[in-house]
Structure formats: structure tokens, C-alpha cells
């Protein structure tokens, strides 16, 4: 059995393209107070942001790497060899004609304009660290929805921005949230007014297109009372030889009765460190759902969380991870129950192929004197090759009576019988493998918006079929 399994060799050439670099604003390598001051000056940000960033920088330096629980691979990050800010000096533009041709080509390959024609409500595409294209369809603008870059958000809408910025994820939450707070640029700011239901998903594409360049976008989404919004982000990155750092912070606030869905498809090239902090606050009767799919990067550490702050708030994390040769997908979820009758659900499925390692890491916390709280966690792992690795590290705290918390995990592999059966019916080994893997994640893939689920299936086909032969 073991011998029949060939090594997975992933074809990442789909993302291996880049265009000449000509960055008007470049903060150079390394991270000092000068770097931070430079970013503030170039972006024309207010003084309170300068103070916020400088304080965050001190926190970043003071915090140790979390290698007491996380992989030692983090120690290979050299923070002095990273460029922390780099932009074309362009403000977000509203018209497609204003976008430079070479970038248009990039977006063409990512399929953005086409998707927009079909159904997108607005596009916020980020090239390196500044948003270069930003368009909100008329209808949404009229509803009072704000969908802009983080810089524009903090300058033009300080009254909403300041109230929640850094409140869901404090600067000192972890070393990388502090780093992001010091050097963030790009990302989205979205505000949906009370009762407004945004019918079409809002979408942003992020790319890394400069060697040794870390990208630190900052996203803040606020759905006011009874509002509903879906946000989608997808990532591809051209391949470079030296490791690239991506460290985003995403904060979501769902006010009373609001609903937010946040969909991510992460497909960075396999030299990227993807260290992301994502958390939501769900107020009374609100619902937050993270749908997270990690396919790319060298190391991803990402545990989307929901703080269930109001009565009957609901939180959900749907997570798919595919770890191929040399990759470590360290993903999971966090559910913090702080009110009665709050419920949370975590479903995680991971696939480890070749020398890939998939890790589920989770936290569920139900403090005392709460009643009627429920959490259900299910983690399933699929191992493809003898060298593949999978881990599960949940931490669950339950206090008092009247709550129910359960966690289940299982590990399995594609059986030789299954593959043999399908081969008898004329499928190649690769097709059989890919059909099995798609079957394993199918119930979760269906939860993604149509475009993404089609794309995901195709990606899995690609990764699996290229692997055997």
C-alpha cells in the first residue's frame, strides 16, 4: 500500500507570475521607529495612529515568539530582512481605466473583472499594500454601506472606526497582532448600517508581489443592528525564493441581531509565512460564521475566533486545510462564551499529503454561572502518504452545570480498497484519489459561495491529480 502511494508534487505554476517592481514608496528593510514614522507620513495618517503604531512597536519587541507551543519554524523568520511598507503611492481609484495596465493583467489572471460582471457588489483589490482599485456598486452606496481601504476608513470615518479598531483584537493579543498594529496598511473597512442586508458578497483579493515583502493588511467589519453582510477574500502570490511574511489582523463586530460571514481562500505560494489573527464579537442574537480554507503557504497559523458576548449569540467556524509537501497548516478556532444560551459550532477537516503537516488547535471557553451554552466541535483528518503528519490540540474549559460541550476528532486515510474499486471502474489512480479527497471535504465545500466551491474542487483536483502518476 505504502509503495503505491507516490509523492505529491504540487503544481503551483498557476500563481508563479509577477510584473516589474517600481515602488514609489518603499520603507526599506527592517523595523524601527523610523519605519513606523515613515509609514504614517507617507500615508498622511492622523497623530493618534502614529501613537498607536509606536506603542504597538514596543509591544511587538517585548513579546516573545510563541514557540513554547507553536512550531520552531517561526524562529527562521528574520524580521530585519523584511520590507514593512511598499506602495505605488496611489490612492484607491474608483474607475477601472485608472488602474495601471500591468496590474490589470494580474487581476485579469485572477479573474476579478469577470466575477464582478457576474455578481460582485464591490471590489477592493490590493496590490502590495495599497488598494489600487475600489468600486462599490451604486445600490450599496445608496444603502449607506461603507466599503473602503483601512487608511481611508480611519481618515474619513473616525467616529465609527475608532470605536472598534483594536477593540476585538488588542495590540498585545500576540506578537503578530502587535506587529500588524505597528505597520498595517491596506485591508478593508466595512460598515453596514442597521437593518441593511447586503445581498452580494463583498470581495477583496490580496497579493504579494515583491520579494522579502511582508503584507500587513488590517480589516475591520461592522454590521450594525440587524444588518447582514458576507465578505470574501482570496489569496494567491507569485513565488519567490526567500520567505515572505503575511500577518493580517481581521476584526468583526456583529451588533444585535446582525449576521456576518467571512470567507477566506488562502493560496499563498509555499514560501509564505501566513500568521493571521482573526476574531469577531457577536452581540445579542448575532451570528458570525468564519469559512476558512487554507491551501497555500509554508506555515499558516490562524485560529478564527468568536467572542459570544450577547445572549443567544451564535458562532461558527468551518475550516478546510490542505497541507502538501513541506507545508504546515496550523489552523483551528476559538470560541469564547460570555453570555447565556450562546452556541458555537466548529467543523474542521484537514488533509495531509506528502510531507505535509496539518494541525488543529482550538480553544473553547465556557466560564461559570452561564446557562444553556453549547459547543460542538468535530475535527476530521485525512492522511494521504506515510510521511504525512496530523495533530490535534484542543483546549476546552467548562464551568458549572447547565452547559454542554463536546469535542470529537478522528484520523483516517483513503483505503487501498477504495482506490482499487474506482480503478476497476476505469478511473486513474489520480482521479480516484482526488474523488476520495473531494468526497471527504464535500459537505464543507458546499458551504462556500458557488464560485469558491467550484474553484476549490478544481484546486483539489489539480493538487491530487498532479500527485500520482
Amino acid at each position: 500500500m505504502s509503495q503505491s502511494k507516490t509523492e505529491l508534487n504540487l503544481d503551483r505554476s498557476a500563481g508563479d507570475f509577477s510584473y516589474p517592481e517600481h515602488h514609489a514608496f518603499d520603507a526599506g528593510y527592517g523595523l524601527t521607529r523610523d519605519t513606523v514614522n515613515y509609514i504614517v507620513d507617507v500615508k498622511g495618517e492622523p497623530e493618534w495612529i502614529r501613537e498607536f503604531r509606536l506603542k504597538a512597536l514596543d509591544t511587538f519587541h517585548a513579546k516573545p515568539l510563541p514557540t513554547n507551543w507553536a512550531t520552531k519554524d517561526l524562529e527562521t523568520l528574520d524580521f530585519d530582512k523584511i520590507r514593512y511598507y511598499l506602495a505605488h503611492g496611489q490612492r484607491p481609484t474608483r474607475s477601472w481605466d485608472d488602474v495601471p495596465d500591468d496590474m490589470k493583467q494580474t487581476f485579469e489572471r485572477l479573474g476579478i473583472p469577470e466575477q464582478e460582471r457576474k455578481f460582485l457588489a464591490g471590489v477592493e483589490a490590493q496590490f502590495d499594500s495599497e488598494a489600487v482599485y475600489s468600486n462599490i456598486k451604486k445600490a450599496i452606496g445608496e444603502q449607506g454601506v461603507i466599503f473602503v481601504g483601512s487608511t481611508e476608513g480611519l481618515i474619513k470615518h473616525p467616529e465609527i472606526f475608532k470605536k472598534w479598531f483594536g477593540k476585538v483584537i488588542p495590540t498585545g493579543d500576540n506578537k503578530f497582532s502587535a506587529l500588524n498594529s505597528a505597520v498595517f496598511s491596506g485591508g478593508s473597512f466595512i460598515y453596514v448600517p442597521p437593518g441593511v442586508k447586503v445581498k452580494h458578497p463583498l470581495q477583496a483579493y490580496f497579493r504579494i508581489n515583491a520579494e522579502n515583502f511582508g503584507q500587513f493588511e488590517r480589516t475591520l467589519i461592522i454590521a450594525d443592528e440587524g444588518a447582514e453582510v458576507m465578505y470574501m477574500e482570496g489569496c494567491t502570490a507569485p513565488k519567490f525564493e526567500t520567505a515572505t511574511l503575511h500577518s493580517a489582523v481581521v476584526e468583526l463586530v456583529a451588533m444585535k441581531g446582525a449576521k456576518i460571514q467571512y470567507v477566506t481562500v488562502q493560496n499563498w505560494s509555499s514560501n509564505v509565512f501566513n500568521l493571521v489573527t482573526k476574531r469577531a464579537i457577536a452581540h445579542e442574537d448575532a451570528e458570525v460564521k468564519w469559512i476558512d480554507c487554507n491551501i497555500g503557504s509554508r506555515l499558516t497559523m490562524k485560529y478564527p475566533g468568536v467572542v459570544l458576548k450577547g445572549r443567544k449569540a451564535r458562532g461558527e467556524v468551518i475550516s478546510i486545510a490542505l497541507a502538501s509537501n513541506g507545508q504546515h497548516q496550523d489552523t483551528g478556532a476559538k470560541m469564547i462564551h460570555l453570555a447565556d444560551e450562546t452556541t458555537s459550532n466548529i467543523v474542521s477537516k484537514s488533509i495531509s499529503a506528502g510531507t505535509g503537516r496539518a494541525t488543529y488547535r482550538g480553544q473553547v471557553f465556557v466560564p461559570k454561572h452561564l446557562k444553556g451554552c453549547k459547543n460542538n466541535t468535530v475535527c476530521d483528518a485525512l492522511l494521504i502518504n506515510p510521511d504525512s503528519r496530523t495533530d490535534t490540540y484542543p483546549a476546552i474549559t467548562a464551568r458549572g452545570t447547565g452547559n454542554a460541550v463536546q469535542h470529537e476528532a478522528s484520523v483516517s486515510q483513503i483505503s487501498a480498497d477504495q482506490i482499487f474499486y474506482m480503478q476497476q471502474r476505469g478511473l486513474t489512480e489520480g482521479q480516484a484519489m482526488s474523488l476520495s479527497v473531494n468526497g471527504f471535504v464535500n459537505d464543507l465545500v458546499r458551504q462556500f459561495p458557488m464560485e469558491y466551491s467550484v474553484e476549490l474542487k478544481r484546486l483539489i483536483d489539480l493538487e491530487m491529480e498532479g500527485s500520482v502518476g
Binding site: 505504502s2 490535534t392 476546552i396 467548562a398 470529537e408 476528532a409 478522528s410
Partner: protein, 418 residues
């Protein structure tokens, strides 16, 4: 080297130096996550333990597990009080059953190869070092190949007096095809004297051996108790181990089962009745080093009062340990609003063709279950006790020894009534 601990003062001094050199556990260590560090103060127990000076007859009278046993040893404050020898027949078959320090001198080769050979892999290196520095006695049991001992062997360790410490040690070596059941009872002689107990045991099951090991921990509730258990399961051997956790102020048990031979089988069981301000900290490790082995863990905790439990379990399937079956389950039954259960069930799978699962649940007594008993005229308090007892007894019954299971059930019930 290790035999010298019992003969050579210089070796003992070296062990004490080693203890000083090892740092105390820190909050940064994952193996101590959720632990209460305030409970770990060793300072009150620095002086040598005073010899037992209590009522010897009372202790001996209280040292009964089952009526029918193959042998019994009773220790108080690390001094042997009584030893009921095994039948002559077993001795003739080559069974060695001696106090630890006697065996260290009489059987140095056996002793050297096995005594504390695997350290404390789950975080208690500091406490293991203290154990090595201060261990006085314990039991050494060697069962030769093919020898079957059908009745259990019982060992009692008592701790008596204020600010005394005890370091119980059990070393069990079961030869190929042998069969043995060993039960350790840890008891506090007084209800509220502050004490320290750092126990250590190594179990070795040779090819095809069947070993049952039970540890009933019933120190008083003012005792800081740490227990390190290393089990080594050989090819086609079966080891069933059960921890019954009743006593202690802060009681930590670290149980590691190493499946070293193909087709090894390990059952790890524990029941915990946690009340008042007690804290039970259980760390487990199912280490699959050989292919085709099986391990199953079932830990059940019933929590009342303002007590806390921590369960951190790890199934690790090492590279090459293909065709592994490994399971792990922890069940927390919360009986009060101030109780807290922490669970960290973990998996690390580095091999192929593995079947693994784990589950952790925290809940409370089902209203319907309680109603059923109330409707039959059983008072609330008794009904609750019955349900808790039934919940814990299920894990005890996995041992598959009716007489012993019934006796352990009585001990659990006695605690629930308190």
C-alpha cells in the same frame, strides 16, 4: 548507578544536586497549561520525613483491599510495617517480591535496567528528581516468564504527621507470558495534616504478558500529590491500568504508556471524584512506537464543590507505527456551578494506515435521569449519588475484575457520601 542510591551516600548527594539543578515547571510549558502553580510550593517539606509514630495497629487494620490476595506490604512514612509473603510455590517459581532497597542490592542487573529508566516525560522532571533524591523504599516485583499470579498483590503506603513527605515507588517487571495484578493504595493517616507525596512507578510487560495495575490515591485533602507512571507494553502484551483519584489538595498524575512491541495492547482508565477545593491534574501519553498496536483511554471525572480538573491527553503515533488503533475519551460530569473541567485531548499522527479518534465532553446529570429516580421515591441526594456512582463505575468495570471492581466502587462511594 541507580542501585547506588540505596548504598552510597555520594550517589544520593549527586541526586540531590540534580534536583537543585532542574528548574521548577513554568507557566510557559504546555505540559503545565491550566495548572495551579500556587499549589506547588515544596518549601514546607524540605526537612527529612519523621519516622512513623502513630498507632501501628490502626494502620495495619486499615490496610485491607480484598480478602483474598497473593501478598500484601504496608508502609508508613516510607518504612515497612508489615509484609505478608507470597506462597512458597510462587517463590519457587522465581517470583521476586521485595522492598525496593532490598531488591536494589540483591538484583542489581534487573534493577539497573529498569529503575526510573524513562524519566518523567510529561513535565514533572523536577519532582522526579526530588523522588530520586529522597526515595527510601517501595516495592519491587519480578514475575518470571510464563508465571501466572491469579490473586492481586496489594501495597499500602501511608503518610502520617505534619509536613512530612513520602516517595512511594513501584517497579514491576512481568516476563513473557506472565500474568499479574498489582494494586497500590495511597492513604493519609490523619484527615488534615499537610503532606507531600511524590510517587513513581515503572511497569514492564514482556511479550504476551498480562498486567493489571491499579493505583487508589486517597491521601488526605491537605496533601500535594504527584504521581509519575511509565508503562512499557511489549509485543502482544496487554496492560490495563486504572487510577482511582479520591484524595489530595492538588493531585497530579502523569501516565505514559509506551507501546513498544508489535500488537501491544494498552487500556488506560481513570475515575476521579473531585470535591471541595480539590484539583486533579491528569496528563496522559499513549506513545505508539511499534506498528499494529492498540491503545484505549477512558477517563471519567465527577466534579462537585469548587473543585477543578485538568485532563491533557496525547496520542502520538510515531513514524513507522503503521496500522495503529488508538482511542481516547474523557467525560466530565459537572455537579456544581463552581466546578471547572479543563480538557485537552491531543493527537499527533506521524504514521500511515492509522485509526485514531478522541472525544471530550462536559455536561451535567440529565434532568430525565434524575426524574426517573425521584419518581421511584428515591431522595434527590441519593439519586444524584447513584447516578455519579454509575457514571464512574463504568470505567472501573473496564478492568474486568469483578471482586476488585466492587471493592473500588465501595471506596468511590465512601468518598461521595463524605
Amino acid at each position: 548507578m541507580s542501585t547506588l542510591l540505596f548504598t552510597d551516600e555520594a550517589a544520593r548527594a549527586a541526586a540531590r544536586q540534580q534536583f537543585d539543578a532542574v528548574p521548577m515547571p513554568s507557566r510557559m510549558e504546555e505540559s503545565w497549561r491550566f495548572a495551579n502553580f500556587k499549589a506547588l510550593d515544596l518549601a514546607p517539606f524540605a526537612e527529612p520525613t519523621a519516622p512513623f509514630s502513630g498507632d501501628r495497629d490502626r494502620i495495619l487494620k486499615g490496610s485491607t483491599g480484598l480478602a483474598d490476595v497473593a501478598g500484601r506490604m504496608v508502609f508508613a512514612n516510607d518504612t515497612l510495617l508489615s509484609r505478608e509473603v507470597l506462597s512458597k510455590e510462587l517463590a519457587q517459581k522465581g517470583v521476586i517480591w521485595e522492598p525496593l532497597e532490598v531488591a536494589a542490592k540483591a538484583h542489581p542487573e534487573l534493577f539497573e535496567a529498569h529503575f526510573m529508566a524513562h524519566g518523567a516525560p510529561l513535565g514533572s522532571a523536577k519532582f522526579a528528581a526530588l523522588h530520586a533524591a529522597r526515595v527510601q523504599t517501595g516495592t519491587f516485583l519480578y514475575v518470571p516468564d510464563g508465571v501466572e499470579i491469579n490473586l492481586p498483590i496489594e501495597v499500602f503506603h501511608w503518610l502520617s504527621g505534619e509536613r512530612n513527605a513520602t516517595f512511594p515507588h513501584t517497579l514491576l517487571i512481568a516476563g513473557a507470558g506472565s500474568k499479574v495484578t498489582l494494586v497500590d493504595y495511597f492513604q493519609g493517616a490523619e484527615p488534615d495534616t499537610a503532606g507531600l507525596a511524590i510517587g513513581f512507578n515503572d511497569l514492564y510487560a514482556g511479550e504476551g504478558a498480562q498486567v493489571n495495575y491499579v493505583c487508589v490515591q486517597n491521601w488526605n485533602t491537605a496533601t500535594l500529590a504527584i504521581q509519575v507512571n511509565n508503562t512499557n507494553v511489549g509485543s502482544k502484551a496487554t496492560v490495563k491500568s486504572l487510577n482511582v483519584n479520591l484524595g489530595g489538595r492538588y493531585a497530579r498524575t502523569e501516565s505514559a504508556s509506551r507501546l513498544i512491541g508489535e500488537g501491544a495492547h494498552s487500556d488506560m482508565l481513570a475515575v476521579t471524584a473531585s470535591t471541595g477545593n480539590q484539583e486533579f491534574d491528569q496528563r496522559t501519553f499513549q506513545d505508539h512506537l511499534a506498528p499494529g498496536a492498540y491503545s484505549d483511554l477512558l477517563y471519567k471525572n465527577a466534579l462537585d464543590g469548587a473543585s477543578r480538573t485538568i485532563f491533557a491527553g496525547m496520542i502520538r503515533v510515531e513514524p513507522g507505527a503503521h496500522q495503529t488503533d488508538a482511542y481516547q475519551k474523557v467525560r466530565n460530569l459537572l455537579l456544581s456551578d463552581d466546578a471547572e473541567a479543563n480538557s485537552m485531548p491531543g493527537l499527533e499522527i506521524l504514521a500511515d494506515e492509522v485509526r485514531c479518534s478522541h472525544g471530550a465532553t462536559s455536561g451535567q446529570i440529565e434532568a430525565e435521569e434524575l426524574f426517573y429516580l425521584l419518581a421511584r421515591g428515591i431522595p434527590q441526594e441519593k439519586a444524584q449519588r447513584l447516578i455519579v456512582h454509575g457514571f464512574l463505575q463504568e470505567a472501573i468495570d473496564h478492568l474486568g475484575n469483578a471482586a476488585l471492581g466492587a471493592r473500588l466502587g465501595e471506596l468511590v462511594q465512601a468518598k461521595l457520601v463524605r
